[in-house]
């Protein structure tokens, strides 16, 4: 049996260091989020990824396709900015997978798992840091898009809606990529595979070019997959077009994916070894 004082000390530690509860989950996520942000601010590749890449892509696609799209009566800057936004978020999420895999590799994740901190905190902290990064990206991308002629046609609420839907997408993408990192664990492997979802979901969407420009056999995929719906919703928000249908599709897709990814990621986090 334990001596009384040791038992009392143990009991007190168990009480004061309790990891359970939503309050703890939020507090711990913010502490880890802050740590992730310090890390991100020290990675040179992140700076270029946040500041330069989206602008380079926006400019390059505009130069390449603006004229040909004009022949289809498409104002390409209005059409393009939403998918460039989503693409920037996709790259953000890809980077989150690499960083999480790094934490698994160095043993940082195991250390956190053996500490009395919320089981949701590592994923929560990842999400918080990458949402901050996403907001910074938007704060750079949207003004540059404005300079190129991109306009929100229907006021401030559509701007807020555009940002919120983008951040919802980022949340789902980061969670999905966290799942990939937790499943594959090895940084090299994760690094080499993060690009794989990019091709089908970003390039084979109606985000860069309308669905009818794709081969007939591919069109069902293009019109069904989530990125097409989200890009359409963002375009509707920017152009002031009817929003309900694409928005409902987007929210439905994102909710289902977030539930699936999130649940599986926490399940994997508890079991990873």
């Amino acid at each position: 049996m334990m001596a009384i004082d040791l038992q009392a000390k143990a009991k007190q530690l168990v009480k004061t260091r309790c990891e359970v509860g939503i309050g703890r989950a939020i507090a711990d996520s913010f502490i880890i989020g802050q740590r992730n942000l310090i890390r991100l601010s020290r990675q040179p590749a992140v700076i270029t990824g946040v500041l330069v890449f989206p602008i380079v892509f926006l400019t390059a696609f505009l130069l390449a396709f603006e004229r040909s799209m004009a022949t289809q009566n498409i104002d390409y800057i209005q059409y393009l900015v939403p998918i460039i936004t989503l693409q920037a978020m996709f790259f953000t999420a890809m980077n989150s997978a690499s960083n999480l895999a790094g934490d698994i590799d160095t043993g940082m994740l195991q250390r956190c798992r053996a500490m009395p901190i919320s089981r949701a905190a590592v994923l929560g902290g990842l999400l918080i840091a990458y949402l901050v990064r996403a907001i910074v990206t938007l704060a750079i991308l949207l003004p540059v898009a404005y300079l190129y002629g991109f306009r929100f046609q229907s006021g401030v609420f559509s701007v807020i809606g555009y940002i919120l839907l983008t951040l919802f997408f980022t949340t789902v993408a980061v969670t999905g990529y966290a799942l990939l990192a937790l499943g594959l664990k090895k940084p090299d492997l994760v690094q080499s595979l993060v690009i794989v979802p990019y091709a089908p979901f970003l390039l084979l969407s109606s985000g860069f070019s309308p669905a009818e420009n794709f081969p007939n056999w591919l069109q069902p995929f293009v019109v069904t997959q989530p990125v097409s719906h989200i890009a359409a919703a963002l375009r509707a928000l920017a152009d002031g077009d009817p929003l309900l249908i694409p928005l409902l599709w987007s929210v439905a897709w994102l909710t289902v994916l977030l539930g699936g990814f999130g649940w599986t990621a926490i399940w994997l986090y508890r079991r990873i070894s």
Binding site: Q7, V14, E19, R111
Partner: protein, 311 residues
């Protein structure tokens, strides 16, 4: 005596590999248990089960009476863990790391900062405190790792091969720090591949091999089982062998040819007696040394195979 850590019949399989095949051990409060074994013996798996990182297939374990399977959150609030690879954030400075772990362990921002400075001093990292960990040497990293696992003082500290890969000086430094923690009353569960390390730090030693405990006792108990220290002498001229054997009669069994070995229960005293007698008969020695049993010797005596063969 109070039992702080207890494991009974722990079993764990990874696919077809039976990593743990029924581990039993207990650690009295305030003591240091050294778990000795080669790579792949199940040391890390045992630690992972005890620290809630891994769920054992069978058996149970408790920390201060809390069940690691049924009350993992309670167990985590009582323990500190230093893994096999220094798990600290390379991109952060030493100080930032300690503040991070302090905040996660419920210290306020001010308390965590104060505690970080205190620990940096204690672990001789004050000067390097504001440098990023990726610039640290192996020894500094391990020290920081150790500091990080006691930011909020645990009841039990788990150290998984804390000095593997360190140079002798860094190893000595780390040992001193572990001893200091022990003196503060922290119960320590240490795994190691080095008998010397277990010898230096542990009150009791458990030897594990292929997922089971094969021996248990103090380091003296274990050494006695392999015959303890012995004296090895190399003759300059092999022809002197019979003369030397005669001169050393009464000191114990002498084995070998050319290089002679005999048990040296009194260590240096036996050695100097040997030197004195050999000198007296005018024989020259090429070399003489006192050898302590290595982990390999202990292993060979206990299992009939050397440490390398089990991996």
């Amino acid at each position: 005596m109070d039992v702080m850590v207890e494991a009974r019949g722990l079993e764990k399989c990874f696919g077809r590999t039976r990593a743990l095949q029924g581990i039993d051990l207990s650690v009295p409060a305030g003591s240091v248990l050294g778990v000795l074994g080669p790579n792949g013996a199940g040391k890390t798996t045992t630690i992972n089960c005890l620290t809630t990182l891994l769920k054992p297939d069978k058996g149970y374990a408790t920390i201060a009476g809390y069940d690691v399977i049924k009350q993992p959150a309670a167990v985590r609030s009582l323990i500190g863990v230093t893994g096999q690879f220094a798990a600290v954030d390379e991109e952060l400075t030493a100080r930032e790391n300690l503040v991070l772990f302090g905040r996660l362990l419920r210290l306020s921002a001010t308390e965590a900062t104060k505690r970080a400075t205190e620990l940096l001093g204690q672990f001789e990292l004050l000067e390097a405190g504001n440098r990023r960990v990726k610039e640290f040497s192996g020894g500094m990293r391990r020290r920081l790792d150790l500091a990080a696992s006691i930011v909020a003082e645990p009841l039990v500290l788990f150290l998984d091969e804390p000095t593997t890969g360190l140079d002798p000086r860094s190893r000595r430094q780390l040992w001193d720090m572990v001893v200091a923690l022990k003196e503060r009353g922290i119960t320590i569960f240490l795994t190691t591949q080095y008998l010397e390390e277990a010898d230096e730090l542990a009150d009791r030693i458990v030897v594990i091999d292929r997922g089971t405990v094969i021996a248990e006792g103090t380091s003296d108990d274990l050494k006695n089982r392999v015959g303890g220290t012995f004296c090895k002498l190399e003759l300059a001229d092999p022809k002197d062998e019979s003369k030397v054997r005669r001169a050393l009669s009464g000191l114990g069994d002498i084995t070998g040819t050319g290089t002679l070995t005999l048990a040296a229960p009194d260590g240096v005293t036996t050695l100097s007696e040997v030197v004195r007698r050999v000198d007296a008969i005018g024989v020259t020695l090429a070399d003489i040394s006192l050898c302590r049993p290595s982990l390999d010797d202990v292993f060979f005596a206990l299992t009939g195979h050397t440490t390398g063969e089990t991996t």
